[in-house]
Symmetry: C5
Subunit: 93 residues, 5 copies
């Protein structure tokens, strides 16, 4: 898993039932020094808001299981809001 | 998923039935500052044109499910046209 | 697999039974010159502590099998504590 | 998929029936400006020669299906020779 | 697949039967100019020694099949010793 910071969301029509009423969040990857670099688009499972630090599961089979699905087109999913992350020298949350 | 911008297409004979009449688009990956870097070749599922900002699913099992297949040689697929993407400071679309 | 150094842990509520009582460790990837760059969040299977050098398996199916699961949302897992790693010029552990 | 340029081949004895009489080609990844960076070793399926621009499928399940296999140790395969690739400003082929 | 050079090995107790009597080798990835950058930890299948140039299969399902397993926690495996690799301008082996 990776830690990210929600920076925004994406509006796009995806013609596949799974995505109905799902929110697609833009998550910037958090570096261990507290900066961010790169991003992924993750399906939200926990009601994360912009600016929140989140845990991102980035593997298709894991992502499907978080939604209780055997099949489904998902790869990255926000699985938790980070209460605290201790990077040794940098603390987040 | 990733956000990309369609920059062109690839013409190649692939000797496998799945690819008959499928379009292969070159998609430049969009950075959060609005620039692009790197690219992937994705199968188009939504009729995307050059210059359009798109959502790219880049996982084999997900890609297959978007086409309703159990098996098939696909990894990346354009799954939606991006109406708006809010990267915090940069807005696209 | 990769070699990492445990730098800390993450506190996050993940609403899925697998994660109950599992520890999520922040592991900095070890370079062959002894420095670190980048990190992953791995589920601990061996009781690793901060500062320890560990082996990280980073593939979903492998990770599940280390926990004896057919399904489950895991990708990266700490599978062993490194007693010695010989990088040719640099020795760790 | 990715676009690559075949730069050479690898001679190695692999003790597994699948690799008997298969050619392993070194493919440099093509950047959108026409330069190359990085490479992968791909199993040839189309009779590609050194210097040719090719399409590379880099996912295990897809690679297996191109060879009509349910199982087999393959990840990257050359699936087509590129007749033309339009990167917007750079044209290849 | 990738080409690597074996630079050393890792000593770690992994509490899982598959790893009993398996050797874990540190393999530096070979660049096309003959330099190396980055590494992976691969399970040895061919008796490779330090300094040898090897072919590394880095995909879980492929790795398992090289060992004749349906399941098992492996991702990267040394599948062959490279007799010769022709990178166009640089020759290895």
């Amino acid at each position: 898993m990776k830690i990210g910071v929600v920076s925004g969301n994406v509006v796009s029509t995806i013609n596949f039932p799974f995505f109905d009423s799902k929110k697609l969040m833009i998550c910037d990857y958090l570096n261990s020094d507290g900066s961010t670099s790169g991003y992924t688009i993750a399906v939200d499972r926990v009601g994360a808001g912009v600016g929140e630090t989140v845990l991102i599961m980035d593997e298709g089979n894991s992502a499907r299981q978080m939604f209780g699905l055997d099949t489904g087109p998902i790869r990255a999913v926000i699985v938790g809001i980070v209460d605290a992350a201790d990077f040794g020298e940098t603390e987040v949350g």
